[in-house]
Structure formats: C-alpha cells, structure tokens
C-alpha cells in the first residue's frame, strides 16, 4: 500500500511547530525557545502506516503528542479527516478524540496502577457514552479477546501483568472507540524481542481489521521495517528524508538516513563487513540548532553551503523527499 492509492486522507499536517519557551531571570523573561518540532509536514491515508524514526530527543514524541492535541502547537496545521484541529479547545476536541488514540511506550506507566485493567479498557467507552451496563461488559470482553487476553483477567490490576500483557491492554483501550488514527509512541521498545513480534503482529492484524491509520514513532529500524508503509526520518525537529519503506531501506539518500541504516545490527556475521558510518559527537541542542542544514555538524560530507543555507525538503518524482543540498536526481 503506498501513498498513491486513492485512499481517503486521514491526517494532513503542514509546517507543524512546537516550541517551548525557556524562561530565565527574576521576571521569567522568555530568552530562547526549545524547537522540539520545527516545521514538519506529511499526509497519512486510511489504512496506511507512517513511521517517524530518529534519535532520542529529535522531537518525534513531541510531534506525536502535538498531533493528538495533548500539546498546543506553536504554529502549523493539523487536519484530522479534513477537520482542522490545530487550534480548537478541549471542549471541541473531546468528541474528536474518539477518532484518534494513542499507545504509549512504557506499558508500566501508561496504565493507572489503581484501576483494574478492565476499567482501563472500559474508560473510553464510558467517556464517550458508547456503552454501559452489561453491554459495556460485553464490549470489554470482546476487546480482551481481540487482543489475546482472557476476559476473566478483567478484574486484575496492572501490576499483576507482564509488560506484553499490559501493552495488549493499552492496545485494547486504544481501539475500544474504533478510532481512525492511532499514534504509537515507541509501543514495543520497552518489551522483550519475542514479545515485540507478538505485539507488532497484533497491531498489524487490528490495522487490517478496522482500516486503521497508524503513526508509528520509533527509533528501532528493525521494527519499522516490519510495520511501516512509509518512513519519515527526523533530525532535530525537522524531517531529513521521507519515502516509502523500500525507498528508505534500499535507496537512502540523506547522509543521516545512511548513517542510521548502517547502525542497524545484522544477525548474519557474513554481512557485517559492510561499511559502517559512525557519526561523531552528540545531537546538538534543539534550543540552539546549527545554522544551515541542521545535520552539518555531524555530516561527513558537509560543504560550506550546508553550513549557511537551510536545505528545503525537495520531493522527487516518486514522492521520495530529501532535505540535502548534496543529493541530486533521486
């Protein structure tokens, strides 16, 4: 499934920015901003999975939470199924929240320790007045079965369950209201490898089942390769490269993407002789991003132009987009 199929547009994001003010001094004057998300644009169609990959601190989680309107965007446009949600208040958002849900990274933190897992799954249904009484119990039972839990586990508390089981609960809670968009913020990175595969398979089954659009935020390229249709590589609040899974994995263009891919561990020792691109230094601070191309401080190919001029995200014929001065004809 690619972006070119005439599936309806679920999510339309244009030039989204989220800046946090840094206040200093006695009068809390705003002296600078942390540019966590600094102008990202993308579309997400029905049934499609877009993965946002990047290092820790590149702003991918902030992007997810801003799109879900858990945070107020500094500027930019967010349209959910054609409806502008970038600037509306919580009251307007509440009914819209049925359409978009979130799965968090840490299943130990995302479930209230004082609520039974049944109550956690029931909460979206009661909040949106979708079901009550015995119908509610039935719905929760169905959801439990759908995610591979036993209905009699409903009355247990989160601490009685393993990480994988808790993440199943979180998935059941997210799909309870039959959303059209689910944002997954590193949903498997806190789990064992064997459990990761189960959870990914479960998510893909559910996605096919209810035609779900997934925005999958991850730093793990091996996981992304399994689930994503398209991939956006993020660096310091902006996209470095956006393309289909095949384009990104087979034909990476941006030096940062190449470096990321070369860091993926390979299980086959014979393949390990490939050239590794090791990046020097740390990610620069998003409160004071480098001039020109944000990657130039760590880029092995950086030229003068890269230090002075911000490279635009240019889209090629196939929809593959790269933000690099040095890449031509992709």
């Amino acid at each position: 499934m690619t972006a070119h199929q005439p599936e309806p547009l679920r999510l339309h994001v244009r030039d989204l920015k989220k800046h946090y003010p840094i206040r200093t001094g006695v009068f809390s004057r705003v002296t600078n901003h942390v540019r966590a998300v600094d102008g990202i644009s993308f579309d997400l169609r029905a049934g499609e999975t877009l993965a946002i990959v990047g290092e820790s601190g590149c702003g991918k989680s902030t992007a997810g939470q801003t799109i879900l309107r858990l945070l107020r965007p500094t500027s930019g446009l967010i349209e959910l199924s054609g409806e502008d949600i970038s600037d509306c208040g919580e009251r307007t958002l509440r009914p819209l929240r049925q359409k978009m849900q979130m799965i968090f990274q840490d299943p130990y933190a995302s479930l209230n320790p004082r609520k039974t897992i049944g109550a956690a799954v029931a909460e979206p249904l009661t909040t949106h007045r979708i079901a009550s009484g015995s119908e509610l119990t039935d719905r929760v039972e169905q959801l439990f079965e759908k995610v591979g839990l036993r209905p009699e586990q409903m009355s247990g508390y989160p601490h009685q369950f393993s990480g994988g089981q808790r993440q199943r609960v979180a998935i059941a809670r997210a799909i309870a209201v039959q959303p059209s968009l689910v944002i997954c913020d590193e949903p498997v990175s806190a789990l064992d490898i064997s459990i990761q595969a189960q959870i990914i398979n479960l998510m893909m089954d559910i996605q096919a089942d209810i035609d779900l659009s997934l925005l999958f935020i991850s730093h793990d390229l091996a996981v992304v390769e399994l689930i994503a249709d398209r991939i956006a590589v993020m660096y310091l609040g902006v996209f470095a490269e956006v393309g289909t899974k095949e384009e990104i994995f087979r034909n990476p263009q941006h030096p940062y993407t190449k470096a990321l891919l070369s860091a993926v561990p390979l299980p086959d020792p014979k393949l390990r002789s490939r050239e590794k691109i090791v990046l020097a230094g740390d990610v620069p601070s998003p409160s004071n991003p480098p001039s020109g191309c944000r990657f130039h401080t760590r880029c092995p190919l950086a030229k003068d132009k890269c230090r002075n001029i911000v490279p635009p995200l240019r889209t090629g014929k196939t929809g593959h987009a790269v933000a690099c001065h040095l890449v031509e004809g992709f």
Partner: protein, 310 residues
C-alpha cells in the same frame, strides 16, 4: 461487572489496597504486607500510636460506661481531693471528678481535632488538585495567597482568627482548619505536579476524559498517600492547637471543658493540687504522641522517600 469501581478504597485502602509497584514506591506498602496485622509487625511504633489513639477514642465513646460520675456535677464536700479509690484522679476546685471530666473532655478534644483535620483536607485537597493541574496564573495566585498564611506563626494566626470569630469550640475548629489548610494544598499540589505528566494521565487526556474525572479518578487516588500521612500528623497538631486556644480561653467555654481548659483551671492550683494539672496534660501528650507515631508509621510504609529526609 468486576471492573466498574474506580479507585475508591475508603479507609481500608490505607492498610491493604496499595498494590506494590516498582515504578512508584509511594504506593508500595513496604513489600507485600497486606493485612493490618502484617503492618503492625512491620511498623511497631506506628501500631503503638494507633493503639494509643484507639484507646483514647474508645475511652471517649464509652465514657458513661467507664465512669459513674457526671463530669459537671459539683460537689462542695470533696474539693481538690488527691487521687484515691473514690476519685481515681482526684477532684477539681469545684469537687468534680477529674477522671470523668478527662473522659468527657476527650470527646470534645478528639472531635475538634478530627473535624479540623477533615475540614482542612476537604478544602485543601481539591484546591491543591486544581492549583497543580491547571497551573499558570491560577496556580500562582492560589500559592501566593496561602504562602502568606504559612508565613504567619500558626498559633498567633489561630488566636487572631478565633478572637475575631469569638470564643467557642466551633470557631476554634474553623481557626485550626484555616491554619492547617495551606499544608494540604501544598502537599497535594506537589503530588499533582509529578503525577500530571505520567503516561496514564496523558492516556486519559487522549481518550477525552473530562478534567474532573482525570483529577478525581486518575490523579487523586495516586496522590492521596502523603495526604493521609499528613492528616495523621495534623491530628496531633490540631489537638495541641485546640488545647492552646482553650488554655487561653478562646476554645471551650465553662462548664464544658476540654483538656486545654482543664490545664488552664488547674494551673491556678498548681501548688495546692499538682495532680490536677498532670492528668489533662498527660492526656494531651498521649494523644499527640499517638497521632505522631501513627503518622510516622504510615509515612514509612506509604512514602518511603520521606524516610531519610525526616
């Protein structure tokens, strides 16, 4: 329908319903001690405090059973009698039985202490929840107002408020509540600040749960443990404050007496009848000690972080 009860555990919750969790030790009640008996073994001093308070409360409730003397029955034949077989703790300047007055005084002292604590929790916790969750200007305003209350010495403030409202136990209760309410606001606010960014609160927001439900269903049950500890310590403080107000004459009015007003009366007969002052003073001491020991014990099990800081 085993899942429709959102985190309401009542008092039982203090002892039993804190599931152990590696991530949030505030909820871990020292391992898996899930019964009151287990807790008593783990926290013997806390259990001792609870025992003292329980005995005092039982004595207050069953006062008419324990003693046959009317607390206000004047007897001019037996003035200032020393402790003995007829009057267990002697008599006061009007020949009233001190033991009996102590038991009936316990009713009032305890009632004032407990209601002052309940009142300040009921007022302070919601304000703290709101202040911490909403943040910004509202938070700033609430905190500065109550900081100014904290800045005044509690006894002086309580004195001023009771003097303004007029002497009497109800007004004393109100004064004590006003003095202690900022503690609960600050405590709850601090808890909310750390909990409101937990993933499960974000998850509730992303579901679209209304603010009041987030505050009372998701945040409050996870924030309440230190408040329970503080309430227990606050009980001792409230009893002392009530005694002080009564000692000065702003609390209980004659012929009704609390421990504080008994100390005041007995003070005039210190050289004549020293036993008269000892009885109510020991009662105050025991109640405050009990409340503080219980508070310490609860703190150790509900809030292990605080252990070192104390």
């Amino acid at each position: 329908m085993g899942f429709s009860i959102p985190g309401h555990h009542g008092l039982r919750g203090v002892m039993t319903a804190f599931p152990s969790s590696q991530r949030n030790p505030v909820q871990a009640i020292g391992g898996h001690a899930r019964s009151i008996a287990g807790w008593c073994l783990k926290e013997p001093t806390g259990a001792f405090g609870a025992l003292i308070l329980a005995l005092l409360i039982l004595a207050a409730i069953f006062a008419p059973v324990i003693t046959s003397y009317e607390p206000n029955a004047v007897n001019y034949r037996d003035l200032l009698q020393p402790p003995g077989a007829t009057h267990l703790l002697g008599t006061d300047e009007l020949g009233r039985d001190i033991f009996s007055r102590l038991l009936y005084g316990a009713r009032l002292s305890m009632a004032v202490g407990v209601s002052a604590v309940v009142l300040s929790v009921l007022v302070g916790v919601p304000i703290g929840l709101l202040s911490g969750y909403v943040g910004g200007f509202v938070d700033e305003l609430i905190m500065r107002v109550f900081d100014s209350v904290i800045a005044l010495p509690p006894l002086v403030l309580a004195l001023t408020i009771s003097a303004l409202l007029g002497p009497g136990l109800v007004n004393a209760t109100i004064a004590i509540s006003i003095v202690s309410v900022p503690t609960y606001i600050r405590l709850t606010r601090g808890q909310v600040l750390s909990i409101k960014n937990e993933d499960y609160v974000l998850a509730a927001r992303s579901i679209g749960v209304p603010v009041w439900n987030i505050l009372f269903v998701h945040i409050l049950p996870n924030a309440i443990a230190p408040v329970i500890v503080q309430a227990s310590l606050g009980l001792g403080f409230a009893i002392i404050l009530e005694s002080s107000l009564s000692f000065i004459g702003l609390g209980a009015q004659p012929p009704v007496s609390t421990w504080g007003s008994m100390v005041q009366t007995s003070f005039q007969f210190l050289s004549l009848a020293p036993w008269f002052v000892i009885a109510p003073a020991v009662a105050i001491f025991a109640a405050v000690l009990g409340a503080n020991l219980l508070g310490e014990g609860l703190r150790n099990s509900l809030d292990p972080h605080q252990k070192q800081r104390m």
